[in-house]
């Protein structure tokens, strides 16, 4: 059975995100929203603390998909950012990207994904489709 046959489980990937990662991501992406850097600003708009860029978490999904599929061409990728990933000043937040192969049809493989931080889902309706 191929690693990407329908129903196959995908080995969960665990990533740690730190405040330093968010600074590097802000520089690389151009998204310098201070809610991803500054505790005071984050709290002033009702957030529980500094949160990871939603796109950082989605980039980790892209990374997991690339690792699972050997860098297959991505056709669709997206999610709702339903719960913030709070990143503490010391240490980091652990994000787990897990999933399985939902379907394989017409040369496209659709992955079912579950993305959690401390056991709580942080992405809603995450979707990835690759040409494989």
């Amino acid at each position: 059975m191929s690693a990407l046959a329908a129903g196959a489980a995908l080995e969960p990937k665990t990533f740690t995100v730190t405040r330093a990662d968010l600074v590097a991501y802000a520089d690389a992406s151009g998204d310098h929203n201070p809610i991803h850097q500054d505790e005071e600003v984050a709290r002033s708009v009702g957030l529980p603390g500094v949160i990871a860029h939603g796109m950082y978490t989605l980039a980790l999904v892209g990374r997991a998909v690339a690792e699972w599929t050997g860098g297959a061409e991505v056709v669709d990728l997206g999610a709702k950012f339903t719960s913030p990933v709070v990143v503490p000043a010391e240490g980091g937040a652990e994000i787990v990207v897990g999933g399985s192969v939902k379907s394989v049809a017409d040369g496209l493989t659709t992955l079912a994904l579950e993305v959690t931080c401390e056991g709580q889902k942080v992405l809603g309706m995450p979707k990835a489709v690759v040409r494989a």
């Binding site: 520089d27 929203n33 201070p34 809610i35 002033s44 708009v45 939603g54 892209g62 991505v74 709702k80």
Partner: protein
């Protein structure tokens, strides 16, 4: 202050094209740990963010009052180093929930030939100030 409802249908181009250079891709891939030499699938957010910034500036919306609610990308082809990309954001919907504006947007990312490389759909959650 709530966002002006007449915005729906308005378009905001990113102010400048962006060339996908190995340096930019390398910095982005390093920031998210993306494996291999491919352009990470979330890289087009750099362009989409430029277009969003043009929109926020034009409407005098503070970036720190924006939280990313959803992002989905569909790719017509993989991005490659050397691509010269342009992005245009269209405001596609606007509604209010519990004092926040939920701004729906669509972004079209084209290459130097005008061909669509990637389309994005995003929601931006704008928490109107005042109390904070």
């Amino acid at each position: 202050m709530p966002v002006d409802p007449s915005l729906v249908g308005r378009q905001f181009p990113a102010p400048a094209p962006l060339t996908v250079t190995p340096e930019r891709v390398g910095a982005f891939a390093a920031a998210v740990g993306h494996p291999g030499g491919d352009v990470p699938p979330t890289f087009p957010i750099v362009l989409a963010f430029d277009a969003m910034t043009a929109f926020l500036d034009a409407e005098q919306i503070d970036l720190h009052r924006i939280v990313h609610g959803e992002q989905r990308f569909a790719y017509a082809r993989p991005l490659a180093a050397g691509d010269e990309l342009r992005a245009t954001l269209t405001v596609t919907g606007l509604r209010q929930i519990g004092g926040a504006d939920i701004i729906a947007t669509a972004s079209e990312i084209t290459d130097a030939t005008g061909a669509v490389v990637c389309t994005g759909k995003a929601t931006l959650v704008h928490s109107a100030g005042g109390a904070a």
